[in-house]
């Protein structure tokens, strides 16, 4: 069974979206855009799958209200992961492989501005031994950045280079929250947010949503001129105990990349919410300097929680569908200091 991405849409990445936490206001226009672009209606979709977080929304069952965006009547085949929607895409890919559906619409949403994001993310940590100390997500990333600098794997300047490259690339992405031409000297003159991280090293706080359309074999060819065929799809998780991990690399990202086979990649859309993680992931996945990194600007220019990973795969697929790349990868991460990683390899034919 062949499965392809045949469409991608994303909401504008915004610091404070004029939306509620349940995603409906962001999702309804996205579904409309995506379905219309392929001449489909919601009733044509065989399987719906989403990714979101109750803690981000500050309530139980936030995804239940989001089902209203589907207009689930008559009843639909639907599922949800409490993860970035990139993993919902994985579940949908598996569903299509079983032959139980021939199309799937996958979506993710997150209103990161609803709370204090770095403290909310601290609640992902071991509730008995670690979370009570409130190590926030930016501070943990800073520890990781410092370890890599001490090991000579990256420098503050190389990290700033990533920000410069990402913001320039985002100029061509109308959904991006941050874009522009900046120079390394100006960036390095800014104060630390969490030493050694400066503001440009950290993804912005973003409200947003993303949606991706999948189809199998002939259905994909019939609906899309140049489908982005999924040739490899893998994910792995590492221990959360940051004292037991070598934080300067990512075993799970390396394994996922090997399983998905990233040889011959032209373009990579990497979900790196911190500049040093862009370098770390590139090294871990073995991507050489010929690979074009994050033509969308990546998460550093807009990081809607629980949708940003899916948006990376959607952006990579867009490069294929538009004919700008022959083989691309989309990557997603989750958990403190890149604990969990997913790689999706896409190909045009």
């Amino acid at each position: 069974m062949e499965v392809a991405v045949i469409g991608f849409a994303q909401a504008p990445n915004q610091r404070h979206g004029q939306t509620t936490t349940n995603g409906v206001e962001m999702l309804v226009p996205l579904f409309q855009e995506l379905l219309t672009s392929r001449g489909l209606s919601r009733k044509d979709i065989g399987f719906w799958c989403s990714g979101s977080s109750d803690y981000l929304a500050g309530r139980a069952f936030s995804f239940v209200t989001a089902v209203d965006a589907i207009g689930a009547w008559p009843p639909t085949m639907e599922s949800h992961v409490e993860m970035d929607a990139a993993w919902a895409l994985y579940e949908a890919w598996v569903k299509l492989l079983t032959g139980e559906a021939d199309t799937a619409l996958v979506y993710g949403f997150g209103k990161s501005s609803a709370g204090n994001l770095r403290r909310v993310m601290a609640l992902q940590l071991d509730p008995y031994l670690v979370a009570p100390l409130w190590p926030d997500s930016v501070s943990i990333a800073a520890l990781q950045a410092r370890l890599g600098m001490q090991a000579g794997l990256w420098s503050e300047k190389e990290m700033a280079d990533v920000a410069v490259r990402s913001r320039a690339a985002a100029l061509s992405n109308p959904a991006a929250q941050i874009s522009g031409h900046v120079n390394v000297e100006d960036l390095l003159s800014q104060p630390f947010v969490a030493d050694p991280l400066r503001a440009h090293d950290c993804a912005p706080i973003t409200d947003g949503a993303a949606a991706v359309l999948l189809a199998t074999g002939d259905r994909a060819r019939e609906l899309c001129e140049r489908p982005a065929w999924i040739t490899g799809f893998a994910h792995r998780v590492d221990t959360q105990n940051i004292g037991l991990r070598d934080l300067t690399t990512s075993v799970s990202a390396a394994k996922a990349a090997a399983d998905a086979n990233v040889d011959g990649i032209d373009v990579a859309e990497i979900h790196a919410p911190f500049t040093h993680q862009d370098i770390l992931l590139r090294n871990a996945m073995g991507l050489d300097s010929s690979v074009v990194m994050n033509p969308s600007g990546g998460a550093l220019c807009g990081n809607p929680m629980f949708a940003a990973g899916l948006a990376r795969i959607g952006s990579a697929a867009t490069e294929i569908m538009a004919g700008r790349a022959g083989r691309a990868l989309g990557h997603a991460t989750s958990g403190p200091a890149l604990q969990q990683n997913l790689v999706c390899v896409l190909e045009g034919r």
């Binding site: 139980a60 069952f61 239940v64 992961v81 409490e82 992902q124 989750s334 969990q340």
Partner: protein
């Protein structure tokens, strides 16, 4: 030809109000260790782990599967976290089975848990989201009007709810893992218990439990390599509808009807009452037994209560429903669906102990969630689907 998959083994914890003897990790591992032993499976044979649980607010940990990665044996492997409200336990089993039936993996571990004592589920369910009427009444207050409507619509006599409670609690007394084990419960004692949300009396509602359930699902080669009986997965179904909309039938939701119709069709079943030997149905309040018997197509509309009243749903009856005691005896919410799926598997594997239905060959596992809007179900059999 679709690939087949089978449950190789199951495991569960002892369920009780407060498992203060274990952490969340310890609770999960207790169920997993039992499932791995029951499935004769070693850790190096597990390709992936799927974890399901209901809202994170129930324990106060955001995405707990991340900190649990080591304890649930997921480190270095693919880990998925499913959350589809109360139906999540069922969805967890279905996602795990899809990973095998798609050909992606050979053996997958499914684990679902809830440690309700870490928080207060009733109030976690009673938050005030924007633009939605606050309930402030937990699940009982939400569902009671639906049962009241069922009674009015079907003309069911008032004692049906108590009959289900007595049957399930007595069944639970035969299940060593059940939270509530009440062999001496009677119709009189149930009917004398306090009214909580009319028509739901104290003894007609599920407990609040800490507990976990795990199972190993394998491909055909793994099933054939097993020295013990396995439970072949004949069909699975999931359906969703919106919570509220004009014309929604809360008593007999279309999503449940559609899921059941698809399930029976895929499992090659034309007369479920005749062909299913045991059913583990998600009945958190006693009145849901007759309601779901109709929704699932075991009885025509308005007549589900007659099966209950005739004793057909007891062990030894035409369709034993919840021989394990069901949700009425143990309700670790996120695990309750997977428990239904596991208990169905245990029946056809002949490993249900004192609550075994004799000669069970085909069994149903069922779960529902949200405002009666998410449904997940499967049929397992002692033999592969022909």
């Amino acid at each position: 030809m679709k690939l087949q998959a089978a449950v190789l083994g199951t495991g569960q914890t002892h369920h009780t109000t407060r498992r203060t003897d274990v952490s969340i990790a310890g609770l999960c591992r207790e169920a997993i260790d039992r499932a791995m032993a029951d499935a004769e499976t070693s850790w190096d044979q597990i390709d992936a782990v799927v974890l399901g649980k209901a809202p994170d607010l129930f324990e106060g940990v955001m995405m707990p599967e991340l900190f649990l990665a080591d304890a649930i044996g997921a480190t270095g492997k693919p880990l998925l976290r499913v959350h589809t409200a109360g139906s999540v336990g069922g969805a967890t089993g279905i996602v795990a089975s899809s990973l095998v039936r798609s050909g992606v993996h050979k053996r997958v571990l499914a684990i679902a848990f809830e440690k309700q004592s870490e928080s207060n589920a009733m109030w976690a369910l009673s938050i005030n989201p924007p633009f939605t009427m606050p309930l402030g009444a937990g699940a009982g207050g939400y569902f009671a009007p639906h049962m009241r409507a069922y009674i009015r619509r079907s003309g069911a006599p008032q004692h049906i709810g108590a009959m289900v409670a007595v049957k399930d609690r007595r069944n639970g007394s035969r299940n060593p893992f059940a939270h509530l084990r009440q062999p001496d419960i009677t119709m009189e004692s149930v009917q004398a218990s306090p009214m909580l949300w009319d028509p739901i009396r104290m003894d007609e509602t599920c407990p609040s439990s800490d507990g976990a359930c795990a199972m190993v699902i394998g491909d055909v080669a793994a099933a054939k390599a097993s020295s013990r009986p396995v439970a072949w997965i004949h069909a699975t179904a999931m359906r969703t509808e919106a919570t509220f909309f004009a014309g929604k039938d809360h008593v007999n939701p279309q999503a449940g009807r559609d899921a059941a119709a698809a399930l029976w069709k895929d499992a090659g079943i034309t007369d479920p009452l005749k062909e299913i030997d045991a059913a583990e149905i998600y009945v958190p309040f006693s009145w849901f037994e007759p309601m779901w018997l109709e929704n699932l197509g075991f009885a025509p509309d308005g007549t589900g209560w007659k099966l209950t009243e005739a004793g057909d749903t007891e062990i030894g009856g035409r369709l034993p429903v919840n021989p394990s005691g069901g949700v009425m005896c143990s309700n670790p919410i996120g695990a309750s669906g997977l428990l239904r799926f596991a208990e169905a598997a245990m029946q056809v594997m002949g490993r249900a102990g004192d609550h075994q239905v004799p000669d069970a060959r085909k069994a149903l596992g069922h779960a529902y969630g949200g405002g009666s809007q998410f449904f997940s179900m499967w049929v397992v059999g002692a033999a592969p689907l022909a």
